[in-house]
């Protein structure tokens, strides 16, 4: 019943030499369409080996779609996305994914600890129950995001920021070297923002790659070191210092923007 792929641990894995040399994420000529409407057109991008990357662009630019295409959650019309040089199907479980919070049923019978433990399910494997040691491990990740006090709280009874931190902890539980997050900073409180930023910096120091769909232009330079400017096509990609320029941002959003200092957020719908 248990396929090796499912039981295999993640970072400690002996990966193939090829996989080790390949960039964590490489997207080649990727196009995605929903019902005939193109969401991504001929996107090609190679991630840095590690660091913090923001995917930035206006509403409807295909940011979440790109993330989901990397994860194999939406089918590519053409082109492909490779994870460590391989198809995502061979890398499932080695990618830690944090979906948008709105995609979850908050009435679900699960506590904060239950949700974090879900990050361990793959390693626990088929047919085996979650044991005390697994729960203790999950508790450790909750502590990392400052929520050990709320471990037994039903997830719907947490604040928005706390919920986000629970999902970050679930991703940490996967002990991956690649993290994909869909708008992790949307609508969270200052404490959560600070804790998440610290967690990301720690991951970067450990050599991990963290890719976030991000909405708030103003905080990009402060949190991230790489940026991918997207508006269905790739507008620009590279280090924040060289590619997060007012000119390129204006090109991405299709409108001239205020000088960066005052630009707090992206304009809605362009």
């Amino acid at each position: 019943m248990a396929a090796d792929g499912v039981l295999a641990p993640s970072r400690s894995d002996v990966q193939s030499a090829d996989a080790m040399r390949s960039p964590p994420v490489a997207v080649h000529n990727l196009s995605v369409a929903y019902g005939g409407v193109p969401a991504l057109i001929d996107v090609t991008w190679t991630s840095p080996p590690s660091g913090l990357v923001a995917i930035v662009g206006p509403n409807g630019a295909g940011k979440s779609t790109l993330l989901k295409a990397m994860l194999g959650l939406v089918p590519a019309a053409s082109g492909e996305a490779l994870i460590h040089g391989e198809k995502i199907e061979r890398q499932y479980g080695r990618v830690a994914y944090v979906p948008q919070r709105s995609s979850v049923d908050w009435d679900f019978p699960a506590t904060a600890l239950d949700v974090v433990a879900m990050g361990l399910y793959r390693r626990i494997g088929w047919l085996r129950p979650v044991r005390r040691a697994d729960r203790e491990r999950a508790r450790g990740y909750l502590e990392t995001v400052g929520l050990s006090d709320l471990a037994d709280r039903q997830i719907g009874a947490l604040s928005g920021g706390q919920q986000q931190r629970v999902f970050i902890a679930r991703a940490l539980a996967q002990e991956s070297s690649l993290y994909l997050l869909d708008e992790p900073f949307a609508g969270v409180d200052a404490t959560t923002e600070r804790i998440m930023t610290n967690v990301f910096r720690k991951l970067r120091a450990d050599g991990a790659l963290v890719i976030c769909v991000h909405h708030d232009l103003g905080s990009v330079p402060e949190i991230f070191d790489h940026v991918l400017l997207l508006n269905r096509h790739v507008i620009a990609a590279g280090p924040v210092v060289t590619d997060f320029t007012p000119a390129l941002i204006a090109k991405t959003y299709g409108v001239p923007l205020e000088p960066l200092g005052q630009a707090k957020a992206a304009p809605d719908d362009v």
Binding site: Y92, Y97, P109, D114, R122, W126, P129
Partner: protein, 308 residues
């Protein structure tokens, strides 16, 4: 009154004959399977689909009867009826899927129209059977609202074994089923076969529906899938304990309902079981320790308003 209540007590305590005892235990096993499978039907929002599949079994039951008669067997041969029911329910599930994927009709319309059309076809076939004059057509009525009266021992044992198999499958796949119900995209990124697991939920529900036809009946079996988990949700915020509680509530409802209907054989078993389950549900809404109204208003538990 005291005579019937002592009679009821005898039945409840399994003191009223081997046959009744077997049937009661069979009902309890069915309740366990329904309560456990129901948790996932509820969490995956499949309760209405379960109702449609249950009603859609009627033409299958009727065709199973006709086939059995044509083969010279007694029309009520359980295997034929249940096989027919399972095939009909499967066709209904595929029809709902096809309508949802290939037409502009919304899912609820797909479910309702499949439910009604299949059931209507079943009614037509039943009216045909009624004029076949083979005798035993009255036996088909029990598949609508259920009955424990006249149930054979080996039938009850078969249903009990199937129920236990369902419960065992759920406990083995529990972790994955919870993950798919909570966050299907995350489950997929973990490499779990989410489509297969999602189909497994439907298959488990379908199995419970088919097995439950004889005791609860196809009109009300959905209640034994919906009500126990809804009640259990008031007692626990964890999926694991909630599933155990739901299975227990299903078992108690089916057991007590079957006992009452053993004492009042005129009343369809399914209706009694549903009323018992609803009574437990009402108590759970009021007193449930996780989110019941009284504990909540007494302020012993933190509980936040649902998001809009």
């Amino acid at each position: 009154m005291s005579e019937t209540s002592s009679q009821l007590l005898d039945v409840l305590l399994l003191q009223s004959g081997y046959n009744t005892t077997v049937v009661m235990l069979g009902a309890a096993a069915l309740g366990i399977a329904a309560g456990a499978a129901g948790v996932f039907a509820m969490l995956r929002r499949r309760a209405l689909v379960a109702d449609a599949l249950a009603h859609a079994t009627l033409p299958g039951v009727a065709i199973g009867f006709i086939v059995a008669v044509l083969l010279g067997l007694p029309g009520r041969t359980l295997g034929f009826l249940l096989a027919g029911a399972a095939i009909a329910a499967l066709l209904a599930a595929l029809s709902i899927q096809a309508i949802r994927n290939h037409t502009r009709l919304p899912e609820d319309t797909a479910i309702a129209s499949v439910l009604a059309t299949f059931f209507a076809l079943g009614i037509v076939l039943l009216s045909v059977i009624q004029t076949l004059r083979t005798g035993g057509q009255a036996g088909l009525d029990v598949y609508l609202l259920g009955a424990t009266a006249g149930m054979l021992r080996h039938e009850a044992i078969t249903l009990a074994i199937l129920s236990i198999v369902i419960a065992a499958i759920i406990s083995l796949l529990f972790k994955q089923l919870v993950l798919v119900a909570f966050d299907i995209e995350f489950a997929q990124t973990q490499g779990f076969p989410v489509r297969a697991l999602d189909l497994a939920v439907i298959a488990l529900v379908l199995a419970v529906v088919v097995i439950g036809l004889r005791i609860v009946g196809l009109v009300l079996i959905v209640a034994l899938i919906v009500i126990p988990p809804a009640a259990a949700r008031f007692w626990s915020n964890h999926a694991g304990p909630m599933t155990v509680i739901s299975a227990a509530i299903g078992a108690v409802s089916a057991y007590v309902g079957a006992a009452i209907s053993a004492v009042y054989p005129d009343v369809p078993t399914g209706a009694v079981i549903v009323l018992v389950a609803f009574a437990i549900f009402a108590v759970s809404v009021a007193l449930g320790t996780a989110r019941g109204l009284l504990p909540r208003y007494a302020g012993r538990h933190a509980w936040r308003e649902r998001r809009p």
